[in-house]
């Protein structure tokens, strides 16, 4: 059993009459890239702020590295690097000076060389002396990542790190997260409403909605449930459609281009359907069973 890096149990937080988080529980293990998924206002940011002790929960426990954040705040935060919501820095200071300021109180102050190296690592080499105020959104995000990694934390918490980035920036951040896990065995908690992002890079996740954690588990397990979407490319397609209707008269499909259709199906029905199509002399060019996280997510939050 891998080491538990984060353990949240029955976390609740209320702001006035608004219950932001209600009884949320989840665990993150060493080496996980853990997805924290939920619609806007679901309670993700409040939960993450509780992890960083920015907000004190009304009830429940938050343990990082086996210790309570309430009683071991400083020693825990020395091992955590975070971007909460968006990276905010001092507008009137340079990129270098901003990193120097946060590094000085990180518990492991970095040398000038290390700061320059980190700026280079996130693609801000040559912009060290430029003021933060003049940075683009992508550059600000990169500086935020640099600030997060500079003191070499064991746990990295990234709250919507790709928001507002261009496609190349999103790919860069995604690759960076994967490198952190694969090459440095870092544990990453990634909050995002970008479902494809979670699907691509996370190995485990929790879905949170209306302040409650709904489901937690490995992304592959959650994606591998029984209800699938099957995309069929076949010829002749009209004959394939007639065969499908004869097999299941209530079946509804979507046309995908001129030669494909997709329709919901249970996993156990796929072998029989394949045999039926072949027996009816229909040529099958491709048969793709998929379950997107988006489908799953929408189903879960609407339950």
């Amino acid at each position: 059993m891998p080491e538990k890096i984060i353990e949240v149990r029955n976390l609740s937080k209320r702001f006035g009459s608004f219950q932001a988080v209600h009884d949320v529980s989840f665990s993150v293990f060493k080496g996980d890239v853990f997805g924290f998924l939920g619609p806007n206002g679901a309670g993700k940011s409040t939960s993450i702020r509780c992890l960083n002790s920015l907000i004190k929960p009304d009830s429940g426990t938050v343990e990082l590295f086996g210790e309570s954040i309430a009683t071991h705040r400083e020693s825990i935060l020395g091992r955590v690097g975070s971007i909460i919501e968006k990276p905010d820095f001092y507008k009137y200071l340079s990129a270098y000076r901003n990193l120097e300021i946060f590094s000085r109180i990180s518990g492991k102050p970095s040398s000038k060389r290390e700061i320059y190296k980190m700026l280079d690592f996130v693609g801000l080499g040559g912009r060290e002396k430029d003021k933060f105020a003049g940075f683009s959104h992508g550059m600000k995000q990169r500086l935020g990542i640099a600030q997060t990694l500079l003191h070499n934390p064991d746990l990295i918490i990234l709250d919507e790190p790709t928001t507002g980035l261009d496609p190349q920036g999103i790919i860069d951040i995604r690759n960076l997260i994967l490198r952190l896990r694969n090459e440095q065995n870092k544990t990453v908690l990634l909050s995002s409403h970008n479902l494809a992002e979670i699907e691509l890079i996370c190995n485990r996740m929790v879905i949170i909605n209306k302040g409650r954690s709904i489901v937690e588990g490995s992304v592959s397990d959650l994606m591998n449930s029984e209800n699938l979407i099957l995309r069929l490319e076949a010829s002749p397609l009209p004959a394939a459609k007639n065969t499908l209707l004869a097999w299941k008269p209530t079946l509804l499909w979507d046309n995908v281009g001129d030669s494909s259709i997709q329709f919901p199906i249970e996993k156990s029905e796929i072998p029989a359907l394949t045999k039926l199509l072949v027996d009816n002399n229909i040529e099958i060019f491709s048969l793709e069973a998929k379950r997107t996280l988006e489908d799953y997510f929408i189903k879960i939050v609407n339950q």
Binding site: R49, Y92, G107
Partner: protein, 281 residues
């Protein structure tokens, strides 16, 4: 150790923020304007004051000297300096909340108490720099421009003549008490800063409190007599006591005690509030 690192950060931030130089620039301009006016037409103002004494006293030598000029300047400006201090210190917590950087700082392995204490100390250092600059501009530059000599002070008890050699230590004492008074303003603005995420609010609120307390202190109404001795604004002009002869030590110590008590309360309230605060900015 991390407190020192955080203090160094706060000093860097103040030093590199353009707003911090506004106060020093304002002091330079204001003192310069007053010195120019006194240089140009100062004797007529002095003659107006000394006219009532000329039947019984004869004034000889350089009456309008640097010592007197510095006293006049301080009397005119030490009321405005709190605004210049609050402009910087009122922004130390709420400005960071408005910018979002307080969220970044609070995720670092430094306790909130240390983080806030470093801001109080940095605010104190800035206040000290403002006072020192005020001293250099008024006393040092004043003596260079107007020369030196015995100092004539007109207060409520009458005219006090202080020997030239007896003046410098009085200025040191006066500036020390003035620093304590301004540090109280700094503490008040930082304290108010802990309650809001708005950058301007604490600055305006600090000036409003000073204005309100000053008005209460000036009103000759019996109902306020009980509280007047405990208002910090009552003791903001205590630096003047150092220019009385003999020194009213009881009054000076009382002022110091009231100002220190204000600082203790304001800092304690700030630490308690900031420690418990949910950071949502």
């Amino acid at each position: 150790m991390i407190l020192l690192h955080s203090l160094y950060n706060e000093i860097i931030k103040i030093a590199l923020k353009p707003r911090s130089y506004l106060g020093l620039a304002a002091i330079t301009v204001l003192v310069g304007v007053i010195q120019f006016a006194l240089k140009a037409d100062g004797m007529s103002i002095i003659s107006f004051v000394t006219a009532s004494f000329e039947q019984t006293l004869t004034f000889e030598g350089n009456v309008l000297n640097g010592n007197l000029v510095a006293f006049i300047i301080l009397q005119m400006l030490l009321i405005q300096i709190p605004l210049l201090v609050a402009l910087v210190t009122g922004d130390l917590v709420s400005g960071e909340a408005a910018m979002g950087t307080i969220r970044m700082l609070a995720t670092k392995p430094i306790s909130r108490i240390q983080l806030l204490l470093s801001k109080f100390i940095a605010g104190g250092i800035y206040t000290l720099i403002v006072i020192l600059w005020m001293g250099i501009m008024s006393v040092v530059v004043g003596k260079l421009l107007f020369g030196t000599g015995d100092m004539m002070v007109l207060n409520s008890d009458g005219l006090v003549i202080l020997q030239e050699a007896d003046v410098n230590w009085r200025y040191l004492g006066g500036f020390a008490v003035a620093f304590l008074a301004l540090f109280t303003v700094s503490s008040l603005s930082i304290c108010l800063s802990c309650f809001t995420d708005n950058s301007i609010g604490p600055i305006v609120a600090t000036m409003s409190v000073i204005l309100l307390f000053t008005i209460i202190g000036t009103l000759d109404v019996r109902v306020f007599d009980q509280i007047k001795p405990y208002l910090f604004t009552t003791h903001m002009a205590s630096w003047r006591s150092f220019f009385e002869d003999p020194l009213p030590m009881d009054a000076i110590w009382r002022s110091i005690a009231v100002l220190v008590a204000h600082n203790v309360v304001l800092i304690s309230v700030s630490l308690y509030t900031f420690h418990r605060k949910d950071i949502q900015s």
